[in-house]
Point group: C2
DNA sequence: TGTTAGCACTCTATATAAACGAGTGCTAAT
DNA sequence: ATTAGCACTCGTTTATATAGAGTGCTAACA
């Protein structure tokens, strides 16, 4: 069967209406809602066709139709116009706090959730492929050394560790130079056993300190590994949509949102399947997370520059306002893109 | 009317039973449940008295009784035995990650939520009255200076800022010495305008850098101020209790939990009203947060040593297992108490 | 005087049935 | 090709009956 122009219009009307009301939509509604000037009977015939094509579904015999996953898919793929929306407050807020990436991310999810009325999540950039930029050891007090590790993108990690006895200033300076000359410019993967051995040799009596620093580096990576940093906001928004808020489903969903492990999987998956637009839409059962099969998820990959990239996602009911969400995502991505890179070249 | 021993026992039995089942409890149940060997009729008389005294309530004429807020209050105040419970895993996990306070706190809420099946929250210690311990400026690259600020309790703050042109090593060293000698040992409030002027004078041409550092210090405090850091865990646990999980109530509650502003108020309030045991119980309408008037909240103040103290809370249904919760809280507090102080004296 | 068995009464929760109404599919007329 | 009309379906709502848990009260008992 052919999906002619009229069928498209009707499908579009059905979906739009369903997005608004969350109720199955009947032929009469469409007959009035559109400017096609067709009677409900005609619409009924068309709807029957659309159902046959798998684009809409009848929840039960005598109910209106709701979009199927496939219907949504078509809607998302072909029927959305690109609307540019101004989210000026975003930009301001982001630039303001740009010196702390964590803050930026938290800000972003918050704004997204507030703007869309859905749940939003964001993953912090992984630092694997980032280059070490700077290492500094300081003697904080008699028995404690503070290691400050800066990687590209000005991500700062602190690690405090104990030493048996104070290290004098000069030695500390030497160690600092050793560490910086040996490690600077390397990605975290490039630090291998051979180098470590060499550095320890040069550090002589203080090889223990070198070990500690390397441990610190390793540890700070590992933390990111085992539980990828993820921020969420507006988790309770899902309670606003009756089809998700009945008790079992809501508990499952909120549970998944709190757990963050499944979320990590989701965001990773979306990065793998990245397409040209950078925006991914999972509809219903398309999502890799079982608990979210009644939801839709829109994800986008951001790139802050300096190799820092992560994923941001919006989770809502299948009848989410794809148009608005994708629009918001796009402008947001535009704002985030290279926010750090730009900053550096600004100076 | 007198609350004699038998009445106490019956009230106790009613509450315990209600905590378990969440259903109104009838006279027959109590008659069998207790070892009083009384008939249901007698119990009925006693219950009638207890109701008259305002300790229990009938939801409707022909239902069993449930505890009133007052009844819970009595239960909490007088009827709980101090049971010591072992939460060994807590200690281990905490010591493990003790070098990052943030991690410790996150760990603590998680464990609490998991152990009790209620929602738990914790506030990060305020740093107001902490002394500055160490300041270090480093030249990260041509135009960027990293300031690392360590306060008592090894709380580390990083702040990156821009400079017009590179500062040579020697000058940086001097600035470091200046900052450290001027500011070390001071609480953040003690830094006044006079000192600042003096330092700027000594810094001469680099007074700008001093300003930046002071700004950084001020800013890092301010962040804590405006939105007190609060971690939550197990928020979805409340959905396990039918009396809280109907749609409206649940949405309100979860909203309040996500917002964190009301939570901050709650935790502050509890710190103000601290009593000798360090543990506070808010039952139903006693809580300062409107949205939680159907819940009970148990809070406790912890003290990590070095003036770092904050509050931890557990939020659950009014029929929460006060006994267990308070027990858990107590042992937890014991674990947390002076965890940093102890650590330092260990070395 | 305290305790208890018994019973009528109350009120919710559950089950069952009936009425309603939104929406469909089909047919026949335009 | 479109549409009016109509019988039919099926979930939702409303009404009604029933069951059961629990109470308060009374009277009997130790």
């Amino acid at each position: 069967m052919q999906l002619d122009d009229r069928k498209k219009k009707i499908l579009h009307a059905i979906i739009r209406n369903y997005l608004e009301t969350g109720e199955p939509v009947g032929s009469r509604t469409i007959s009035k809602y559109t400017d096609l000037n067709l009677s409900s009977a005609t619409i009924r015939n068309e709807m029957s066709d659309l159902e046959e094509m798998g684009l809409i579904i009848q929840p039960h015999t005598s109910a209106g139709r709701i979009p199927s996953d496939m219907g949504y898919r078509l809607y998302v793929d072909t029927m959305l116009e690109d609307k540019e929306r101004e989210i000026t407050e975003m930009k301001e807020l982001m630039i303001q706090k740009a010196d702390r990436m964590e803050q930026v991310l938290k800000q972003v999810v918050k704004i997204l959730a507030a703007n869309t009325n859905y749940t939003s999540i964001i993953s912090a950039p992984r630092m694997h492929h980032n280059k070490l930029k700077f290492i500094q050891l300081s003697q904080v007090d008699e028995h404690q050394i503070l290691a400050v590790i800066v990687v590209e993108g000005n991500l700062v990690q602190n690690k405090m560790f104990q030493v048996e006895e104070p290290i004098d200033n000069e030695t500390l300076l030497k160690l600092n130079i050793l560490l910086n000359t040996s490690l600077n410019g390397l990605t975290l993967e490039e630090i291998n056993l051979g180098m470590i051995a060499k550095m320890k040799e040069q550090a002589g009596i203080h090889s223990q300190v070198v070990s500690s620093v390397l441990d610190a580096i390793a540890e700070s990576i590992q933390v990111e590994e085992e539980e990828m940093e993820i921020y969420t906001s507006g988790t309770t928004n899902i309670l606003k949509y009756p089809e998700l808020s009945d008790n079992d489903r809501a508990a499952q969903l909120l549970g998944a949102l709190e757990d963050k492990k499944p979320l990590a999987g989701l965001l990773e998956d979306s990065q793998e399947h990245e397409n040209s637009t950078g925006i991914q839409v999972y509809i219903g059962s398309e999502t890799p997370v079982q608990n979210m099969k009644d939801c839709s998820v829109v994800t986008a990959t951001y790139d802050l520059g300096d190799g820092m990239h992560g994923t941001v996602g919006i989770i809502g009911p299948k009848r989410m306002d794809y148009d608005k969400v994708i629009g918001t995502m796009k402008t947001l991505m535009a704002q985030l893109d290279g926010i750090y890179k730009r900053k550096e070249s600004d100076d």
